[in-house]
Symmetry: C2
Subunit: 456 residues, 2 copies
């Protein structure tokens, strides 16, 4: 057991491959379906939106995918990221638990998002794409892709969820710094945006709506493709550099975690840290509990249903087998903008259905309180998304104390909160509220899925 | 010569001592003078403001001062900081120069400031101090001290230069997160503030004014002391952890810098990086050029005079031998708030007078342009203060290209700019201007010093 605060790796220890959990799942993911024919989609259905290499990565069952040298060289800008032992937090919580966190906030965009933005931009460049469109919630994904597109010389058009665009104006400036164009969504630039605005002129927007806009723009232009920051299998794949590094770092610390915790929006944050650990559970039966933490105001994993549903709000994407609250569900305007998504990616949904991972939903006030305590003990101000993991860590650490167990806890500190200080200001001023969904609200949106096939 | 992007150290390699350049200066600093008697001040004159251990560190000529274990353990939260080789920037500038940067933005406050905030809070705690007052410009120092005071359980009252308080509201929230009280300066809470406000109700404030306010509050209460974020000898001393680490890291990279560059406000940023290198020049005659970069709108090193002057605006501090523009000089409201100070610390002033270091002044538009290029190549958005060093690096790299020389350049990337995006937004929107001082303006403020002794 290390007494050091930081466990660092050398650049030689950055993974050379991504880990694909599809090789090890006891039950494979169900295929996505074409929204019209309801038959499984093939590569040609996806090719207007994605470069062929990413479509291959979406479906392959190869266990390891080589990381191209060009991507590896950009990873070296911020990777390997540090792993910290939270000695001061442990003392504050008076817990026998050992708490470790992987810190992805050292990347250019300040979160884990560049791990997939860089390879996505790279493969698009390889296939001659001139422009990419995307959506962004809190702006983490948009700024990561802005950086990556700048590196490879690709234009970028970002649809930013309007409530975040207004709450976090500086994320827009950061995207502009890397040369991207940013529009608040819903916007009048697309049919999808116009349709939403005509029904609800003051719509705060949602990731689902912004996806509809970005997809529509890409589908209409042969030189333009679309990129998604979470949910899809290839996105989760790229994020496994996080967990592979953490596995090695935990080994250097002389420990294996009993519990691995990460925030949950569409799945890539959680998958990135947990899948390389989950592999040891799937292949060797090692005991490790992987917990996805979602906001109580957007509880697809804990209160949604496993259904075929659209990835976007308007219904332009293939139908994906996912835990969902229904694609028309617009989450409350909480500050963890990156977690305001109605559904969960196919892989994570299958793993949850098979009982291989756990999920918990936490209200935002508990999360912000945990975030402030974390900043006061460990010195890093966490992004609102990351505070969801921290709140669950606090619960686990208290359970460990009550049980008198030296539980080892690892979590993903997926980003810093220096661009989220308006949220903390609101919290300190008592302007934040918790949001409880009624069963009726949950039911209502799910009932719209009646016409689509059940995943079996 | 390393091909790696990062040169990292282990926690065992964090310095255990601070380096005191006063042991190696060919001409010692002149003593500070009492503003009334104009005789050299003694420890008892300073004891209402500072704990005795810091007063000792201010004047000692011991070469190395032990870092207390309690401080070392907090340093481990973010130290050692990384040193980067800027391969991508070198390629962009098409220069044969090797460019390295020490990155202090990984600290809790996002800058080098906690390096001295933590020991200052520690020594105050040791001597039973209950409350500290301080000034802050851009808010970097205030947030660093807020963090440090929280760690050691001391109350903190911050006077924040009004223009920065308004430009950078989120720094206030960060200080609040660590439990500090923050007031825009000039404020009606002090005689000094009232005096300024009565003459100039819309005063944008300055570091000099904020110092007057903080000093006044501390002087009036026996349980309260004052802390300064730069200028003083003990502050420069604490920052030498930066340069000592960088020296070791450059050694690991197999190089010794020809040029060491840092932004200049009061001197601690520049001293922290350069003094451990300068020691090799002073003791072994190694060739290294140390360049302090100040804003052209606040050019005390390049256009000021070496005079006895006050550290604050109202004239409450001892008279310090410094390059100064006069204590009544209020710099233009540029975004590099941390550099808006009328004078330079005594040590740096003596070194400049003795021709041992160099200084250059650069306009803010050139700095912001360099900062954007840096963000686009190296991925880190620099603080406006840090862009001053970067602009000079660009000049040096271009000179190296023109001369066909493989010059080795090291600079201090003293902080990130994630809390300064409003400044970048202004830059992109064309709202920033350069500020050229007339000779008349410089003369006017200096003429007020006629009544004070000349430093000889």
């Amino acid at each position: 057991m290390s007494q050091d605060h930081k466990i660092l790796l050398s650049e030689k220890e950055i993974p050379r491959q991504w880990y694909n959990i599809q090789a090890d799942m006891p039950n494979p993911c169900l295929p996505p379906l074409h929204p019209g024919t309801k038959a499984p989609v093939g590569p040609e259905d996806l090719s207007p939106l994605f470069p062929m290499e990413l479509i291959k990565q979406e479906v392959t069952r190869e266990r390891y995918i080589e990381i191209p040298d060009e991507v590896f060289n950009i990873y070296k800008i911020w990777r390997p990221t540090p792993l910290f032992r939270a000695h001061r937090l442990e003392a504050f919580l008076d817990t026998p638990a050992h708490i470790y966190y992987k810190y992805e906030g050292v990347s250019p965009a300040g979160s884990h998002k560049p791990n997939t933005a860089v390879p996505q931009a790279y493969y698009n460049k390889q296939e001659g794409v001139k422009k990419i469109t995307t959506e962004t919630g809190a702006g983490q994904w948009g700024s990561a892709l802005a950086y990556a597109c700048h590196v490879f010389g690709i234009d970028l058009e970002v649809y930013m969820v309007k409530v975040s665009y207004e709450q976090k104006p500086y994320r827009k400036t950061l995207m502009n710094t890397w040369g991207a164009e940013v529009f608040p969504s819903p916007s009048p630039r697309t049919q999808a945006g116009k349709q939403i605005l005509s029904r609800q002129p003051n719509s705060p927007g949602s990731l689902g709506i912004a996806i509809s806009e970005a997809v529509e723009r890409a589908a209409g232009d042969p030189d333009t493709k679309y990129a998604l920051g979470s949910v899809l299998n290839h996105v989760l794949l790229h994020q496994t550099v996080v967990g592979q590094e953490a596995l090695l770092q935990m080994e250097k610390a002389g420990e294996f975690p009993d519990v691995v915790i990460a925030p949950f929006g569409g799945g890539s944050n959680f998958a990135g840290l947990s899948f390389p650990f989950l592999r040891h559970k799937l292949k060797e039966g090692r005991k490790v509990r992987c917990i996805a933490v979602e906001p109580a105001s957007c509880p697809k994993l804990t209160r949604g249903e496993f259904r075929y549903d659209f990835g976007d709000t308007v219904g332009m994407t293939p139908l994906i087998p996912m835990y969902t609250l229904g694609h028309s569900f617009v989450p409350a305007s909480i500050h963890a903008g990156g977690l305001r998504y109605h559904g969960a990616g196919a892989i994570v949904s299958q793993l949850l259905k098979d009982g291989l991972i756990d999920a918990v939903a936490i209200q935002q006030l508990e999360c912000f309180q945990a975030g402030v305590t974390f900043a006061r003990t460990e010195g890093i101000l966490p992004a609102p998304e990351a505070t969801h993991a921290i709140a669950e860590v606090f619960r686990q650490a208290r359970q460990a104390r009550e049980a008198g167990e030296a539980r080892t806890i690892l979590f993903n500190l997926c980003g810093h909160g220096y661009l989220d200080l308006a949220a903390y200001e609101d919290y300190f001023n008592g302007n934040l509220k918790d949001h409880e969904l009624t069963d009726q609200e949950v039911k209502e949106h799910l009932s719209e899925l009646a016409e689509y096939p059940l995943p079996v």
